[in-house]
């Protein structure tokens, strides 16, 4: 399944007949565009280049942080590391489709028992580890046992909470006992299968320090490990034995991940052609990258939203009208344009447009300082002493906002301060480095009024840790707000197996949170990736930047 096939122009036949045919064509067109990556490069469609001309070249990816290691069992959990694990070095059993459903990958197929308590995976028999050993059911069972092992601090153990036991049926068949829930396969799309013959003899306590994670990984993915220079680069090369049915050997010869912590340096390297792709073009550099004819920009929605969490345990912020007023007093569109260069959309609640359950009819709360003032009046906050700050029972409306020491966030805080000052509310920003902020906001004594942060949603939404009344002690209950009736809705989300029902529940959940405004959801953030114009086959979405890396290819002039 090469990109070639999917990218071929569907314009062969002319549309005839009724609107249904035209609609169908529109769908096909949209699919083809999506498959080819949004911004096409100059020089004709990708389909005109023969396969033989696509092979070869090295792509250098610039990222700002080191990939700490590629053993998923070893903390810290890391965004780029998990992408390299899933799409470069190893193979998970299943992959996520564009609808966030599951597609076969290392598992050729799977059966679920009538009562949804047993799952049998049928593995591919044409996959081998880079040292030549075949990938078998015993590797799957081994990975599962390690993930469940209480002596191993596997960061994502929650993925397998409802997976109870495993048995190897034969070399390529493995059976699990599970307790039923929807999207139960999600963990197997995130955690790749690991080689038992390499890691089987490593004691649990030595796993973290084992060279497997940092200097000698043995994988089965489309690329193989070549070298890792700590703090500098990871080098991978094409795996010539990657199964033909899954696309075969990647087009690229080599893939290099380089750590360039300073974003200005990274943008300069991109412009010079020393880097082929930079994962996180800052909004300030977007115009420069866009105007450079040798570069292009891919933007796509992420599951990340920026928000202000209100500590509703404090009397000042316990009233939903007040929180609503604060949201409406902020010109979020202006903030989005000013600090993020318009990369994203003003948020309409906890569920962003990246998710299939998002309702396009949702509208963000409007920027309306007058209504905000009226709401504050109604809640009893009036400026009785004429000092420009509202007060109630002799207490002025002042609070502090913890802000991470990232310039974009600090700029938002300053704009927020100016907006709120106009409705008679005094906000005092206080900057913290990330670890300090993370420590403060998870502290059981909740030592904050409000804080500003961004949050990446898991692709399977289960937000009970943030809002459920029966999880009040969870460190992630930043706002302290909950509603008993919402608990029931949230509890049924993971159990709902029917998509329509699940959509209804997710929407009810999102709308309830939006009404109560325990957070001010600022924006749903888009990511901008800058790349060489001659780098083709790059498709990115919420499933990750490296998802199609095995079919990336360089135009001959760009190698």
């Amino acid at each position: 399944m090469r990109v070639l096939g999917r990218c071929r122009s569907p314009a062969a036949g002319s549309p005839r007949g009724g609107s249904a045919a035209r609609a169908a064509l529109a769908v096909v067109l949209a699919a083809a565009l999506a498959a080819c990556g949004g911004e096409g490069a100059p020089g004709g469609s990708a389909g005109s280049v023969p396969d033989s001309a696509r092979r070869g070249g090295t792509v250098v990816i610039a990222g700002q942080t080191e990939i700490p290691g590629v053993d998923p069992l070893v903390p810290p959990p890391d965004y780029m590391a998990s992408q390299v694990e899933r799409y470069v070095l190893f193979m998970p059993l299943v992959q996520l489709g564009s609808d966030l459903g599951f597609r076969p990958w290392l598992a050729r197929s799977w059966d679920v028992s009538e009562d949804s308590t047993a799952v049998v995976f049928h593995l591919r028999d044409d996959v081998a580890w880079s040292d030549g050993e075949p990938v078998t059911a015993r590797d799957v069972a081994f990975t599962f046992r390690k993930a469940k092992d209480p002596d191993i601090p596997f960061p994502n153990r929650a993925y397998f909470d409802r997976w109870d036991s495993v048995s190897v049926v034969d070399a390529h068949t493995v059976r699990f006992r599970i307790r039923p829930y929807s999207q139960f396969l999600f963990g197997w799309s995130q955690v790749p299968v690991l080689p038992r013959h390499v890691l089987g003899d490593v004691p649990d306590s030595a796993l973290a320090g084992d060279p497997f994670g940092t200097s000698a990984p043995v994988g089965d993915g489309p690329f193989r490990f070549v070298r890792h220079d700590q703090g500098d680069r990871w080098v991978f090369e094409a795996n010539p034995d990657f199964p033909e049915e899954l696309g075969g050997r990647p087009w690229l010869d080599r893939l290099v991940y380089r750590v360039i912590p300073d974003e200005a340096t990274a943008v300069a390297e991109l412009a010079r052609g020393e880097a082929d792709l930079f994962m996180n073009v800052p909004p300030g550099a977007l115009d420069r990258v866009r105007s450079d004819s040798s570069l292009k920009v891919v933007t796509f929605p992420t599951s990340t939203y920026a928000f202000v969490a209100w500590n509703t345990r404090r009397p000042l912020l316990s009233d939903a009208r007040v929180r609503r007023a604060l949201t409406m007093a902020m010109d979020r569109e202006a903030m989005l344009q000013a600090v993020r260069g318009g990369l994203g959309r003003v948020s309409a609640g906890p569920l962003g447009p990246w998710h299939w359950a998002y309702d396009t009819a949702w509208k963000p709360l409007p920027y309306d300082p007058d209504s905000a003032g009226a709401l504050l009046d109604a809640a009893g906050w009036r400026d009785t002493d004429g000092d420009g700050i509202r007060d109630r029972h002799g207490r002025p409306f002042r609070f502090t906002l913890l802000v991470p020491d990232v310039r974009i966030r600090q700029d938002i805080a300053v704009m927020m301060q100016a907006d709120l000052r106009k409705v008679g509310v005094y906000l005092e920003p206080r900057t913290r480095d990330f670890a300090s902020l993370a420590g403060a906001i998870q502290d059981p004594s909740r030592p904050y009024d409000a804080f500003l942060l961004s949050w990446s949603e898991d692709l399977v939404i289960d937000d009970r840790d943030y809002w459920a009344c029966d999880r009040r002690e969870n460190p992630l209950q930043f706002s302290g707000w909950c509603e008993e009736t919402l608990d029931a809705v949230m509890d049924s989300i993971p159990r709902a197996t029917d998509r329509a029902e699940k959509r209804r529940l997710l929407r009810e959940y999102a709308e309830t949170v939006q009404r109560a405004q325990p957070y001010t959801f600022l924006f749903d953030e888009d990511r901008a990736v800058g790349l060489r114009a001659g780098l083709e086959g790059v498709e990115m979405d919420v499933r990750g930047e490296l998802r199609t890396v095995r079919s990336w290819w360089l135009r001959p002039g760009a190698r």
Binding site: T58, V60, E66, P68, G69, V74, P75, P76, P77, P150, D151, P153, F154, P155, N156, R157, A158, Y159, A208, G209, G213, T214, R227, D229, Q230, G231, D232, R233, V256, R258, V259, I260, P261, D262, A264, T265, A266, A268, E269, A271, R272, E274, R432, D433, F434, A435, S436, L437, A438, G439, A440, Q442, D443, D458, D465, Y466, P475, L476
Partner: protein
């Protein structure tokens, strides 16, 4: 001399112990620890607790402190939280890179600084002197990271990059592995150019100011007049007679510039993606990798102490009037 050196080394012990103790306290006073920063709802509390246990963070602070001291005296500095290997190995990777960068910068600082200072002193009040003075003062007040970014923009501009192709990040090119020995050396030299300039130029400007002043003082002295009267050439007078005395106060600057240099690496290594101690310290602080931060602080401290000592000893070596530890 030996006794003096011994005494200075002994004095350094409580100083360095104080540095690491203070670092330890500061690190633990700051809110958050390595696991709070993971910050991921998928990590169940018991797993988080276990991570903390594995890192030894569940034990009382004095125990952690003593444990660190023990690992420190046995020479392996504990285990890095983020890299899962002995800190000694982590530092073994990074320290040579930083020593290379700061060593070359040090040479630049003194060679360039002295040369410019001498030229200025010899041509006092000339147009060249004025230009160099303005240039030196400007460079002296420019922060290193800004200079670094400007250099990157400069060499990336098409007008410059067409004839001067200098790498702007990292220590080696992507094709380094396939290069021959000389190719590798040349590759590293090219990668050193910009970070060395960004790290050293401001200090070189400072040294130039000192050198100019010191040289001016020396060339007004009688023995220089004598030398000239003997009919020696200007070159012999300046480089043969004046330079040695003029260098005395400049040599003692070494001790002053070393802390600046090592402090500078923290910023410069981030700007130029140089995988050295400065980056290690920076990343370590962000990730709350306590053992790495402690070890890096200790090493920087030790290097500064050593640099001061060397500069004092050098002072005695170049000035026969200075004698340490003799009554």
């Amino acid at each position: 001399m030996l006794r003096y050196t011994g005494r200075r080394l002994l004095e350094a012990v409580p100083l360095l112990l104080g540095i690491v103790t203070l670092t330890f306290i500061l690190l633990h006073v700051a809110p958050g620890d390595p696991t709070t920063a993971y910050f991921n709802p998928n990590i169940p509390p018991d797993v988080l607790e276990q991570m903390r246990r594995n890192l030894g963070l569940d034990r009382p602070l004095p125990v952690q402190y003593l444990d660190w001291l023990r690992s420190f005296f046995t020479g392996h500095f504990g285990y890095s939280f983020s890299q899962h290997r002995p800190v000694a190995a982590v530092i073994g990777d990074a320290l040579p890179n930083t020593l290379l960068l700061s060593g070359v910068s040090l040479v630049l600082i003194f060679v360039l600084g002295c040369a410019v200072g001498i030229v200025q002193a010899v041509r006092q009040y000339s147009a060249l002197d004025q230009v160099l003075t303005v240039g030196a003062l400007t460079l002296y007040s420019v922060p290193g990271f800004w200079l670094g970014l400007m250099l990157i923009l400069l060499v990336s501009a098409p007008a410059v990059s067409s004839w001067l192709h200098l790498p702007i990040s990292g220590m080696t090119s992507i094709g380094y592995d396939s290069m021959g020995t000389w190719g590798r050396i040349w590759d590293q030299v090219r990668h050193l150019v910009l970070p060395t300039i960004a790290l050293g130029l401001a200090s070189a400007a400072g040294v130039a100011r000192y050198m100019r002043g010191s040289m001016l003082e020396v060339i007004r002295q009688d023995y220089i007049r004598t030398a000239r009267a003997k009919g020696l050439g200007e070159r012999e007078v300046i480089l043969g007679h004046a330079l040695r005395n003029a260098l005395l106060p400049v040599v003692s600057l070494l001790g002053l510039y070393l802390p600046l240099l090592f402090g500078g690496t923290v910023v410069i290594e981030v700007v130029f993606s140089w995988p050295g101690m400065g980056r290690l310290l920076y990343d370590g602080i962000l990730a709350r990798d306590y053992p790495v931060v402690m070890a890096a602080t200790f090493l920087f401290g030790a290097l500064v102490v050593a640099g001061n000592l060397v500069s004092d000893l050098l002072y005695a070596a170049v000035d026969p009037r200075v004698r340490y530890g003799e009554r």
